[in-house]
């Protein structure tokens, strides 16, 4: 607990484990999520969804549904003017395809919406779904990536081979020669299973046309208020001003809500057509099988090493199963670009070439699940290190040490064209390895009970985040994200309202942004209120994703606060008849250095508003400022270690203990940082051992509930100890680096590394996630190296 100082020296708020101001309302049950927003007259929407993975729609008959009392309308694609959303990259390697808001002509995955039913209750809307009939002629679906070669019918006619994006961003003519002459080449294929982000609150929205404002007001659970506005405006042919997006509390995002879904557009369209308020809340079946998924990828890699275990070069062929459509606004290029660009992680790789493709399938589209391709590339890089260490007889930590980018290498520029700002890559590795020793894990491995085997894994990695326009521009999206602006206004009672276009989904922005501003204004954070998630209240912004909010949004707030501080000091100087340079803002007061003179900031605020005639030389009235930030992007880094145990009887895996070294630059709130790390690791453990959005060969989803899509519970979580290093970022005023994804990124690599350590006596390696008990059983059945030799 932190108590407010009442007197004495100034309190520094950045760095304090301040309890979050958001907490009280969530604890009382008075947080307001989208489906909690009251509306006495809202109609309820439900979607008629395709039970067929791939086919041509012959007919849809909605008439029987309209007979049901309480059903107001059933709309199909034609009723929406065949509206579409198109997420695309403006580059030759990208094939542009549209996603119809409601299926038009073809269905491309099970769960694709065919029609939207509007009724007086969700119960009646669901009755009506049953009454809608349709005829669909089926094609053979494309489920696995290789199916595309076998099936004559392409998913999109524009892409006959099913490849929507094919990037060869990195080429190296000498790579083959280098690999051919390397001491060893590790040649492996790694795979990762399809996942669903599964925030506890699914998607939802409430849309209403307001004549008075000539505006469609859409309350929606999203991470991207302004991009949702743009998408809805484009799809419905409205001006930006005619769409107001309001985001109330968001029950988890994880990238799953860094997108505009067709359902939200359909609900908005229905509200506009009917001129009646309409609401929709996704159920879990829809969320798991008919929204967005991600992570289904395959990496075929060849990595050359010298005899000493030093990397000579790396060739990668990356394929991502991006599902049936390119999502708006980040597109199906998201995973392939991220994988290719950031593959090399914390390692010095002299030569690098990659091809990365996004392949369409009859599954829901992929979007930006937390970490985007980084969990896989780290799993691959660390897997290569472990394999090479084994082949060369080098210790697993030592081989990483030999390849890691070191302090003296910064600023380091790799063959991926990225310049890395300083990080603590080697320090993190050394600290983590030392902690493993200190925690006695080796001993614990040897102490496994009969019938149990244990192993230790280690993974050293970075997390690129806070991509500004300079970096995002390279992707060639029609809208280039990256900057943020912040507006600050102090009112007559001395309280400050801050607006930002970033949008919290549980990260605690109301607390951490206030900490940053408080330090610069010399007032307590509880005097600062962040307003976010309303396109009419905030000027513009790019929302929350990729560890950008506190870095860019918070960075912009810091600039705005610095400017507001200047105004406060100038007013104080005039009121106290001193020079503004001699005034400092401390503990709620403007204080003259060296003298005892001071005036409270509350008093300044009151004077500026109510007695402005006393202030003769101000150019502007009021106390308002704005700031902006647009860093190019930066790398946080970390090293994880895990101790795992395999029960040879049941083939179950338990993570017994977990160590984290994290460097995210300046820490604004340690509670929040550690919370992000722990939560991310839980998702990473889920991805490695439990979760998979699996499909039958005919494209039917097999994980449609939390009984089959296994989100980890408290029982699956190990104790996690977290150690911090702090290499400040030089791109922002705050020194903060983003860090929301590190847990999710590191966990698959480290658990896989630990499992392979546990199974090292067998001549087999796990190179995919999720690892199921069946995989373990298969490996345990293999002869051990001793038995086979």
């Amino acid at each position: 607990m932190v108590t407010l100082p009442t007197s004495g020296e100034s309190q520094q708020w950045v760095g304090q484990p301040l309890q979050r101001r958001e907490d009280a309302r969530f604890l009382r049950g008075t947080g307001r999520y989208t489906d909690d927003v009251p509306h006495a007259f809202a109609l309820h929407a439900a979607f008629v969804r395709s039970p067929i993975a791939f086919g041509v729609i012959r007919s849809i008959d909605v008439r029987p549904a309209l007979e049901i009392p309480g059903v107001i309308a059933v709309l199909t694609s034609a009723d929406l003017g065949h509206a579409t959303l198109t997420g695309f990259l403006d580059r030759d390697e990208f094939i542009k395809t549209a996603m119809p808001i409601l299926a038009n002509e073809r269905v491309r995955f099970v769960g694709e919406p065919l029609a939207i039913v509007i009724a007086t209750s969700r119960y009646i809307a669901e009755d009506a779904i049953e009454a809608v009939s349709y005829e669909i002629d089926e094609f053979d679906p494309i489920v696995a990536m290789d199916d595309a070669q076998r099936t004559p019918q392409p998913i999109h006619d524009e892409a006959p081979d099913g490849v929507l994006v094919d990037l060869r961003m990195f080429n190296d003519d000498e790579l083959e020669e280098v690999l051919a002459t390397s001491h060893v080449v590790v040649d492996e294929t790694f795979r990762s299973g399809r996942l669903q982000a599964a925030p506890m609150e699914g998607r939802g929205c409430l849309a209403e046309w307001i004549d008075r404002d000539d505006q469609l007001v859409v309350t929606v659970s999203t991470q991207l208020p302004h991009q949702v506005r743009t998408g809805i405006a484009q799809a419905l042919g409205l001006a930006e001003r005619q769409v107001r997006v309001i985001v109330p509390d968001v029950g988890g995002g994880f990238g799953f809500k860094a997108v505009l879904g067709r359902e939200e557009v359909a609900v908005a369209a229905a509200a506009r057509i009917l001129r009646r308020p309409v609401r929709w809340a996704e159920d879990r079946l829809e969320s798991l099988t008919a929204s967005f998924q991600g992570r289904e990828q395959e990496y075929t890699v060849r990595a050359g090493f010298t005899e000493d275990g030093v990397l000579t070069g790396l060739a990668a062929d990356i394929r991502c199963n991006i599902g049936a459509y390119s999502a708006f606004p980040f597109t199906c290029g998201l995973e392939p670009i991220m994988a290719a660009t950031e593959f090399l992680g914390v390692y010095k790789v002299p030569r690098y070439a990659s091809r990365s493709r996004g392949i369409a399938s009859n599954k829901p589209p992929s979007n930006a699940y937390r970490g985007v391709s980084r969990p896989q590339i780290v799993m691959v890089m660390e897997g290569l290190m472990d394999r090479a260490a084994d082949r060369l007889g080098i210790d697993r930590v030592e081989i990483r040490r030999r390849n890691t980018i070191r302090a003296e290498d910064f600023p380091y520029s790799g063959p991926n064209g990225i310049t890395y700002e300083p990080g603590s890559y080697l320090e993190a590795l050394e600290l983590c390895a030392a902690q493993v020793e200190a925690a006695g894990w080796r001993q614990r491995c040897e102490e496994a009970a009969p019938g149990f085997i244990r192993g230790i894994g280690i993974a050293n990695f970075s997390e690129r985040n806070a991509y500004g326009t300079a970096t995002m521009g390279l992707r060639r999206m029609p809208m280039t994200p990256g900057f943020e602006v912040a507006h600050l206004a102090m009112d007559a009672s001395g309280d400050v309202t801050l607006t930002s276009g970033t949008c919290s989904a549980g990260q605690g922005h109301e607390t951490t942004f206030a900490q940053i501003v408080a330090d610069r204004l010399g007032i307590a954070p509880d005097r600062i209120q962040l307003r976010q998630g309303d396109t009419d209240l905030t000027s513009f912004g790019w929302g929350t994703f990729a560890g950008r909010s506190l870095v860019i949004g918070g960075g912009a707030a810091a600039v705005a606060a610095r400017r507001l501080a200047v105004q406060l000091r100038e007013v104080a100087a005039q009121l106290l008849s001193v020079d503004a340079d001699d005034v400092e803002l401390v503990n709620g007061h403007a204080r003259v250095r060296g003298t005892g003179a001071s005036i409270s900031i509350d008093e300044i605020a009151k004077t500026v508003h109510f007695r402005s005639h006393l202030l003769t030389d101000r150019e502007e009235y009021l106390l308002e400022s704005h700031g902006s930030a647009d860093p190019s992007g930066m790398f946080s880094n970390g090293c994880h270690a895990a101790l795992v145990e395999i029960d040879a009887g049941t083939c179950a895996v338990q993570v017994l203990d977990y160590l984290v070294v994290e460097d995210c630059g300046v820490i604004v709130n340690p509670l929040v940082v550690d919370g992000q790390v722990r939560g991310g690791i839980a998702q990473g453990i889920g991805a490695t051992l439990y979760e998979e959005a699996s499909y039958s060969p005919d494209g039917q989803p097999l994980a449609g509930s939390f009984m089959s899509y296994l989100v980890p519970t408290a029982a699956e979580m190990p104790p996690i100890s977290i150690h911090h290093l702090e290499t400040p970022c030089y791109q922002t005023e705050t020194g903060v680096k983003g860090m929301g994804e590190a847990g999710t990124i590191g966990a698959p690599a480290v658990i896989l590394s630990a499992l392979n350590d546990a199974l090292r006596s067998r001549d087999a390696w796990l190179e995919h996630v999720p690892v199921t008990p069946a995989d373990i059983q298969r490996l345990l059945a293999l002869p051990t190296k001793m038995e086979s030799s």
């Binding site: 907490d23 969530f26 009251p38 988890g252 919370g675 939560g679 509930s705 939390f706 408290a714």
Partner: protein, 162 residues
């Protein structure tokens, strides 16, 4: 759709007379008919526990119970915890231990823990973790939730009337 029925329900000490369709879930009765939206719905199939409320002091999944089944019972929801405005010891411990991020799962965990602590006065941390595994949280990784409940259990046990 069969005939709607009249039920009486005491929620957080207030008596209500409500007309419901037999298929209407208790979660919808609380959220839609009574406006108590603190009870969240995360799965509607009994796994996530976001909808956990106390029905006659027992934790139940409000998504799996029909309103008509709750006829005559007494229900306590998250809104009934901080009755006099001040957060309860458990709610305060959740904040101290950062046991919540997005807060969507929080009401369910609070009610689950309250029901549990009422019948299990001195649980050890392993038992608390096991109990907490009844509900899902996608944000926190659970450590803060377990720590908060353990701390409150110990504190309440020490403070119990002898």
């Amino acid at each position: 759709m069969s005939e709607s029925r009249e039920i009486t329900l005491t929620v957080n000490g207030e008596r209500h007379l409500i007309v419901v369709e037999p298929r209407r879930t208790l979660a919808d009765v609380l959220r839609i008919d009574l406006g108590l939206t603190g009870t969240h719905v995360g799965c509607e199939h009994g796994i996530c526990g976001a909808c956990t409320v106390l029905m006659d002091d027992e934790p139940v999944r409000a998504c799996l119970i029909f309103g008509v089944q709750a006829d005559g019972s007494s229900v306590r929801t998250v809104e009934g915890l901080a009755v006099k405005g001040e957060l309860t010891d458990l709610q305060q411990a959740f904040s101290r231990h950062h046991a919540l991020q997005c807060g969507f799962c929080t009401p369910g965990f609070l009610m689950l823990a309250e029901g549990y602590l009422a019948t299990t006065p001195a649980p050890d941390p392993v038992a608390v973790r096991e109990m907490a595994s009844a509900n899902l949280c996608r944000c926190t990784g659970y450590q803060g939730i377990v720590d908060a409940i353990v701390e409150v259990a110990e504190h309440r046990f020490r403070q119990r009337p002898i």
